[in-house]
Symmetry: C2
């Protein structure tokens, strides 16, 4: 991206706003967005640990609420588990421990240097905490399906990768569901439900375009039989994994003894699935994908302030304008989260910039001339459209516009996303596509282990990864694998990745 670095100075704005455009330098744009919109602070004095600030936390809480509501509607009940896991639990499933052990923070002491008898892991994920308890709680087929979730944080000391607030940090905030079924077929049905939940939340509510994949054999969750996950494409040209869901089969039920007595009286192992939407990470992807060079753009429901009222005051015109603003505030507060920004020491222009930076969906401007005409100007943050609206008609106008706000934002993003998927038949085409910040869609020999060699070749030559085959919807078939030329069993997607 170095050729575009010169845009940086050209695009420079006020010191308070973001100094680079999103196109010019996505990475710098994201860092400044997080800092200037006061979303997170990286100055906490432990490497990789981030403080999340009110404007981000309010939105994340709303995202948690929406996600929990849909999970509960689909039969998951909430639990709270201890966040520490005994080393002995942690080591019971060998692939799992191999996958996570390098990233675990260990509690070894208590008080003034007293050694614990057994080290305790800060959970990197909760399988090995939960399934021991599941072996107590599940007895009979009548207990199944057994669907639970918890909203919590997890800790992972991800080695050398740089901290990116929300997107990558050593403590992150997620929901994890852990479900037990009597049969493999039911556990596969749950994957379809998880996929639907993912689209309903990530695309419909958070307006992030995604593709839901079955991951290749070589890119599975440690301990899983199959892994499925959604990817979103960032403006950097890299994909980011949003929720993933895993069929664990009986890999964990065996060592942890998650068994049930079936109708016929025989004892069977349960089939376990787990699904992990990481709210802090989804928030990061959302602000990165929806935002523009002015700052945040947020779905209407998720913005901490939905409507801001800014008086435009010259000389002595203040009082009547402010009185009317306060009236409007009172009226609209019945329906929305409204802020009347009546600060005297800040100019209207600075206020415009500040609330655009913070992504407030609607700004109402009211000056003395508007007042004469009994109107106000409503500015839509997402489209930039300015509409003069009669003050009496503001409620009606916003009722309609607010309903459509997220929908339109989503449609625009989805339409744009289509241009980012490029059909490729050769390695050169794949390389060209991912270098142009796109995803390549291509024929591939196999997503079983025999395909790993071709994936390695793509990684080496194009610095990109086989993300898997689209799940839940068939893609057009290619004849040949773009790498080895053998018949293409699958159509896969290739992209650079975080």
């Amino acid at each position: 991206m170095s050729e575009k670095k010169t845009d940086k100075t050209e695009a420079k704005k006020t010191t308070k706003g973001i100094s680079v455009s999103k196109d010019a330098d996505f990475s710098e744009w994201y860092s400044e967005l997080v800092q200037k919109a006061e979303l997170a602070d990286l100055r906490y004095n432990i490497k990789g640990f981030v403080c999340y600030m009110p404007w981000a936390v309010i939105t994340m809480k709303k995202m948690y609420e929406k996600y929990e509501r849909i999970l509960e509607k689909k039969g998951h009940l909430p639990l709270i588990m201890p966040s520490l896991i005994p080393e002995s639990n942690f080591k019971l499933e060998s692939d799992h421990v191999a996958g996570f052990a390098p990233e675990v923070f260990w509690v070894t002491e208590v008080g003034a240097g007293e050694k614990l008898q057994e080290p305790l892991a800060l959970r990197p994920t909760s399988e090995t905490a939960l399934y021991r308890m599941y072996s107590y709680w599940i007895r009979s087929y009548t207990d199944l399906p057994f669907k639970r979730y918890q909203s919590c944080q997890v800790w992972r000391a991800e080695g050398t990768k740089a901290t990116r607030p929300f997107l990558r940090a050593r403590e992150f905030h997620w929901i994890e569901t852990h479900n037990v079924f009597a049969t493999e077929e039911e556990s596969r049905q749950q994957i379809i439900e998880d996929m639907e939940t993912t689209y309903e939340m990530i695309e419909e509510e958070f307006a992030i375009p995604i593709i839901f994949f079955q991951r290749p054999e070589w890119d599975k969750f440690p301990g899983a039989v199959h892994t499925f996950a959604a990817d979103a494409l960032m403006d950097s040209g890299k994909v980011i994994q949003l929720p993933s869901t895993h069929m664990l089969g009986t890999n964990f039920s065996k060592p942890f003894g998650v068994k049930f007595v079936d109708k016929d009286g025989s004892e069977k192992l349960g089939y376990i699935n787990c699904y992990g939407p990481a709210i802090s990470r989804i928030y990061g992807a959302m602000i990165a994908i929806l935002g523009d060079s002015q700052g945040l753009i947020l779905p209407f429901d998720l913005s901490p302030v939905q409507v801001v009222i800014v008086p435009i005051i010259f000389k002595d015109s203040g009082t009547p304008v402010k009185v009317k603003c306060a009236e409007i505030e009172k009226k609209l507060s019945k329906h929305y989260s409204v802020k009347f920004d009546d600060r005297d020491h800040v100019s209207a222009g600075e206020k415009f910039n500040e609330w655009e930076l913070k992504g407030v969906p609607f700004r109402i401007e009211l000056g003395p001339k508007d007042l004469e005409k009994s109107q106000a100007v409503v500015v839509n943050r997402s489209t930039g459209v300015k509409s003069p609206v009669k003050i009496d008609a503001l409620e009606e106008f916003l009722a309609k516009e607010s309903k459509e706000y997220t929908q339109k934002l989503k449609s625009r993003k989805l339409a744009g996303f289509k241009d980012y998927v490029i059909k490729c038949s050769t390695m050169d085409e794949i390389k060209a596509a991912v270098d142009d910040k796109k995803m390549a869609c291509t024929g591939f020999c196999s997503i079983e282990l025999e395909g790993a060699k071709c994936a390695e070749k793509i990684e080496k030559e194009a610095q990109a990864f086989v993300r898997g085959k689209r799940f839940g919807k068939d893609d057009a078939k290619f004849e040949k694998c773009a790498v080895c030329g053998k018949p293409a069993k699958e159509t896969v997607y290739v992209a650079k990745s975080y």
Copy 2:
């Protein structure tokens, strides 16, 4: 309580219900309540760590929502902080570290035995995580008052005390507010606000009678100038501390550099307060104080299921009764969380017991004879009152009854609480009162350090503690200290305690 142990067998019920009455053996009653209503599981394999189960977690989530809403209404904004604290931060305030050090869990390693350069504390409370960041965030008097909260868990390895789910465990779930003010007077005003919040939540919403105290000098939070806290009285005759709030003065702002430039241009230290309602503990106190020998009683808003419909079916009467039950369920679900318990393999009597155990506020019973009369029977869990109600009038009936449910529960508890405070003028009277599971209200020389000796005497002779003087409301004065006979500067309360 050994003299009452014989009641245990007398009060024995079905194996599914609680086998002792609350009066007979409070401690056993509480344990069985937690286990049989499926609120928590103590079999997790780390000492002092508890799994919280759906029926409890759903209610705790509602409590969190209510508490967060009131805090936000009063100007606190949410934050999310890392849960680890560098040892160097932790040691900056000497009283604080002395108070908490024995209880801290330390993270010392990462991955496969790699030692951390600096040990990291699992937060036992967040002052030393937050105030370093506050020194970055607070610059000017215009940033004050600075009011923040976070909802999170904390870890404390409380030594030898037995684990009591919700009431005492090594990981618990709370809210902590941390506020900075320009003056000591404003920080004192915040104590009054916190007291009001405490009454609004703990008494009004959760129906737990409390007294809000200023704690004596010898019973302060480590690092505090003054500590204030609410106590509730359990049926065991012991008080439990519910939220506490602390004036930290400039004790923390000094070492952490929490300073601001005042109007006059001079740099000043901020006055800091913190307030810590522990939701899991309040939940424990609530179920302990409100429950009866049949099981839970919950405030209406907080019950996971608010109305349960139980069909009473004989022989072939099932279908029309069930159809009507389903109709009622559909209608009431618009307003409440409703469960139609249509299990065929469970008798109506067993269902009654189960939902009483779980504390569902209203049970609607409907049998064929009721159906003939177009009526149902509504049973109030809190009062036990059974009301025949026309099916068409159910919505109206419940609208009124549900509104009054928590209010009446609270009034009954508050009225009862008055009998539990006994005025005492001598040590013998104090002893008699606390041995009779009451609180003693008595004259006391001083809650400054000079009074500590008299408090020790009470502790030794009556195994009870001086909880402090009532804050926010003056009590009638006593002439003399019940212990040393000197003039009584204060009226204090004495009780046994958890």
